[in-house]
Point group: C2
Chain length 701, copies 2
């Protein structure tokens, strides 16, 4: 939870939230749900809004929706491959094409011709083409009675195989997705775009107006949008399904839809699993986030160039910090946990009194608890060695990728670790061989900090820690690794990759040697995690999901998995401490808020906005809120109306929405979007982006 | 360790440092030592510099030295009670007299007449008048063979009694100080000043030029000075011992002395005790520091007024973070720990082969190890409940102070907790009844964050945690406590204090009730700590100290204890990565560095300095370094020459000096000071502070 300027507000909001939760009994609440496109909330929409989406309506929205694999959502907005997303989603690509002399995050960018569009370094966009239920085949591969290690291996093997078969058959990116925490397995096939070119981005100061203080807050005044264009064979891709632009945009009380890729929720978690997040998961993450935020802030303060180098990482950590704090405040609220417990126990009681359900699923809750207990016991070593938190370094990640790719690709596909399976190799290589810039000073600072954390956490006498440190203190060891490795050179990476296992074994590169040194322990921890935590949880949650289907019906949505979902909700204000918060803001509000803060960072408006103020229609809607059910990963999701027209783009949720990780509420929680009218007004009058406007509005010049 | 812009530099520096350490065999190195005024380094000074300080020389320097009880050092610089310290030491007082409309830290202050001098809210200054060895009496009170709880009680009792007797006899503040970790007890008598008025402070931007990036770095360009005047009976105090100003100031290679109050070192610690700092003490502190730095940074970003409210706390945490990181980098360096181990083992071996020493002191090392082990086992509960880290709130501290003062003062003096003994009550009340402003929004944010940490650390189900939280999440509980308490009003505090135990027991104030709720557990932890950690350590370190005296002689200095010490060293540059670093900088350098950073924060110079540039003699020395042995707490210490004239004022140490906590080195470690000539130049030409200059230079108008 962020520090409230007016603590009373938040307090009251939380009281209201809890009151609302306690009144609710049914498993789905109001506009709740991150629905699957192959199991949409048809009934709910009919009941609540008398709206029945047709198959064509759904297919159009699905195929107009885009996933940014760097972590976000977007949509096609023209027939010529134009994609809209948030500026803060584009930031990853902007950072990677920026240099000391050209900081695209800060200054923005505008290609007035196709020739001026800049290709991103390693961006991959996915468009969902089809969904196929493969649950039966996945579960059939796991023979009854085998231990969980064998079960895990069999499951992983069949998933790798399914993906490879699908890739070979269709040429489409093929991912087997685990839904309902293991209740269903679906094969998602994506059209993939890797030639992704930057068309337009506004300046950071208007895209992220209000900065960290206003992040996860509302009212807001941000032009958090950017545009890319996808190319195929050197030409703009021809897109059949793209969203028509609504010049009027979202209106108060209107039903809207959000089609995007929520990253992760924990709503189906049992109580011990939520307690684990409260006691271990979130606190450990927050400690890491804070230490990296402090590290990057201190690094950034040294010079503008340092600040430029670290800005995308720093934003990511600040953003995560606020998100995690909001989640933790919810998890540390006994009233919310009580509500979750009641819901969990209601389902369990229903199972218990059913003679068929109880023997089939009754034990599953204990199985989750046991898996969670195991996870607690290996959490920190697994976090440090296998998840790599001991090595906060792009160069180390590259080294590990090379080491493992060599070893894994030497095995049959069905025996490989998931991320080295045949179907995913192309995408993996796009990342491993990325030309994204690496700064040795920043790498050294980051790696030294994480090595220090490693010593603090596992102890200076831990056998592997001693080997990793090689008798040196963190700064010195980090500098020697970063300055000694040649992995900054992509040609070197490719050469090593081409040499296979032999090249890895013979490599004198210190980062490769480090990655090799820790790999046996890291792999062992992974094996323990997969066999004793992940697999038992899949099995147990699979059962709980079946129980839920049996008790509540199958028209329920799974937790978020960074796959395409449909949410819906009304454009609606709310009341905070008795004070009404309107459903939308206007462009005028940005100027007012900037003036209230004397035009100081992060409330400084860019020169372009100051200069164009007289031209703007100041009462144009700028940002708005709705009750749609979203979470991180939904950033950049299109908001559409009943006609499927684009009326806005999601870029945030308010503070009160952060508990949506584990519980839905619409009392005060809101999704925050940029309004389509505000976007057009800015493009037209601030940026004079006539070509882009014409393309968006279908009146190409 | 701060993130180095050039990692190579630090690496090389460390290599050089370690090489130097390994070459050294004797227990004292070069200009090492924070010496006692009643055991000065006479022999060493004679040998190295052919200088023999007389008793009068020492007494003059001692009585011209001032301790700021808010945490720092200073000196008398005129016969009329003028005291010089650092701006960053004055910051505590500046913060407390500042308001929304007048931010003295940022803008500085200049009283051109006595009438304009502003009285600080709760500052207390101490001047050391006498030292008396009371070791025999303290140790005699501890009867042989009693258990450590009884020993601790007896020791505490006799110390309280000695202080009270001394206060009654002399009227002077009387503190029994533990030296050599328990090897000696000395009674320090201080003249106390509580009417402390602000005379002059420069703007923050020149006092702390370079901000966090340049903190603990060198070369530096800071006017980190401020002036107060102490009053007695409403008149400027008449001061016999004050330092004469050297207009020329420190010169290259000159022998200089530093007389100040180093806060704490750990050089006499045995290896398990150092490992404890490496594994527990420093990492726990750093986690706390980082979380508070992030909290205060986020709070500050919301508005200029927020930034003003939090600035002194935020600076303190940023400062601590860099200091602790430097210490931890040293502790995590196997080479340094090896050196410490060799030294420790050399002493132990000498004891072992001595038939008298071994039976008397041989077991002491194991006793320290055992006490450290116990401390590890209670560290976090003790840290949270007794040291109060669970309650990051001025209002809570006040509540606890009131609760304990009522209970303790009802007991005989010799049974009281140390901080409530008769001799210290007056100083305690000065703090408890301070009119320093308290901001409820900031208090709420701080308290909520620490409550969240409490839940994270001890668990949401801990019995006392559950009671503390009262069924609410952290933000809500913090807001209800802060908004519910009336302790913001000093009159209310005084009323409760006057009512004694009864008033406490009957109080409905939620903060008082909270302090009462946690007090039994907190006191129990304190009792365990004092009886099973502190007392055994005192006894064991007392023995190790005796062993050290027997082996190396008594001319050794104890670890720092925030009491007056004498250090010495040469004004001397050093070599960093083969590049010479000069011993002093000039005023011109400030302008150059500011320009290199485009005049941006924290490298922005204040308007006064920009405007007065043409008037300044730009090659005037500004800052300089020496090999003197200093640490945090020495901030504001006068630097004097052989004639006892003031040539500078300590304000920092470089990054490489941070290991001085546990090991001295002069290879690259340096104390950083403002040069007396630079101060005069600034006062004369930037601030036109003619009256102040006349007073400093003895040419009063």
């Amino acid at each position: 939870m962020e520090i409230p300027v007016t603590p009373k507000t938040t307090r009251t909001a939380f009281v209201a939230l809890i009151a609302a939760l306690l009144l609710t009994a049914a498993p789905a609440r109001a506009d709740e749900g991150m629905w699957l496109f192959d199991n949409p909330p048809t009934q709910l929409l009919k009941q609540r809004y008398n709206f029945e989406p047709t198959a064509a309506w759904l297919e159009h929205l699905q195929k107009a929706s885009v996933r940014f694999n760097s972590g976000g959502s977007g949509s096609f907005v023209s027939a010529d491959g134009l994609v809209m997303t948030n500026h803060h989603v584009a930031a990853d690509a902007l950072q990677k094409i920026s240099t000391k002399d050209k900081d695209y995050i800060r200054t923005g960018f505008h290609a007035r011709t196709r020739q001026e569009e800049i290709r991103s370094v390693d961006e991959e966009l996915n468009v969902l083409y089809s969904i196929e239920d493969v649950t039966a085949r996945v579960n059939a591969a796991v023979k009854p009675g085998v231990d969980s290690a064998a079960a895990q291996q069999a499951r992983r093997g069949v998933i790798n195989t399914i993906e490879k078969e699908s890739l070979d058959k269709t040429g489409l990116r093929s991912d087997v997705v685990t839904l309902y925490n293991g209740g269903r397995y679906s094969l998602y096939r994506y059209k993939k775009y890797t030639d992704v070119r930057l068309v337009f981005a506004p300046e950071r100061d208007i895209a992220f107006f209000g900065g960290d203080p206003d992040n996860f807050e509302y009212p807001r005044y941000c032009l958090d949008v950017s545009f890319f264009r996808v190319y195929e064979n050197g030409q703009p891709a021809k897109i059949e399904h793209y969203l028509k632009w609504s010049a009027e945009g979202a209106k108060e009380n209107e039903l809207t839809f959000v089609s995007g890729h929520p990253g992760r929720t924990d709503r189906l978690n049992t109580i011990p699993h939520l307690e684990f997040l409260r006691d271990v998961g979130n606190p450990v993450s927050l400690n890491l986030i804070r230490r990296r935020e402090v590290l990057l802030t201190a690094y950034s303060a040294r010079s503008l160039e340092n600040a430029r180098r670290a800005q995308d990482d720093l934003f990511a950590y600040q953003n995560s910090r606020k998100a995690r704090l909001g989640m933790l405040e919810g998890l540390q609220d006994p009233a919310i946990l009580r509500q979750k417990r009641q819901e969990d126990e209601a389902l369990r009681a229903a199972v218990r009194k059913d003679a068929k359900l109880e023997p089939a699923y009754g034990k599953a809750w204990d199985d989750v608890a046991a898996a969670v207990k195991t996870y607690r016991s290996i959490y920190m070593p697994h976090y440090l060695w296998e998840r790599g938190m001991a090595f906060y370094s792009e160069l180390f990640s590259t080294a590990r990728g090379l080491v493992r790719m060599a070893e894994e690709t030497a095995k049959p596909n069905n025996e490989r670790l998931r991320e080295y399976s045949e179907a995913g190799l192309e995408s993996l290589k796009q990342q491993l061989f990325s030309e994204a810039p690496i700064y040795n000073d920043l790498e050294t600072a980051k790696l030294a900090d994480s090595l220090s954390m490693l010593i603090e956490t596992l102890g200076a006498e831990d056998e592997l820690v001693v080997k990793v440190m090689a008798g040196k203190p963190p700064q010195q060891r980090a500098a020697e690794l970063v300055n000694g490795t040649r992995l900054g050179d992509v040609a070197v990476r490719k050469q090593i990759a081409a040499g296979g296992v032999k090249a890895i074994q013979e490599s004198k590169d210190p980062m490769i040697q480090l990655a090799r040194l820790v790999d046996p322990v890291a792999r062992q921890l992974r094996q323990t995690y997969e066999a004793q935590v992940d697999e038992p949880m899949r099995q147990a949650y699979g059962k709980i999901a079946q129980a839920r289907f049996a008790v509540y019906g199958t028209n329920v949505y799974p937790d978020a998995t960074f796959t395409l979902r449909l949410a819906f909700g009304q454009v609606k204000g709310y009341s905070e401490n008795g004070r009404p918060v309107p459903s939308s803001t206007t462009i005028a509000g940005a100027y007012t808020r900037s003036e209230e803060h004397g035009g100081r960072e992060p409330f400084a408006l860019p020169k372009s906005w100051i200069d164009s103020r007289p031209r703007l229609t100041l009462n144009t809607p700028f940002n708005f809120v709705s009750t749609a059910d979203i979470i991180g990963g939904n950033s950049g999701s299109p908001v559409v109306n009943r006609n499927g027209e684009l009326v806005g783009i999601i870029f945030d949720g308010n503070i009160e929405s952060l508990v949506l990780d584990f519980i839905y509420t619409d009392t005060v929680a809101r999704a925050v979007a940029v309004h389509s009218a505000g976007i057009l007004e800015g493009l037209r009058k601030v940026y004079r982006a006539d070509g882009l406007v014409a393309e968006l509005t279908g009146r190409r010049q």
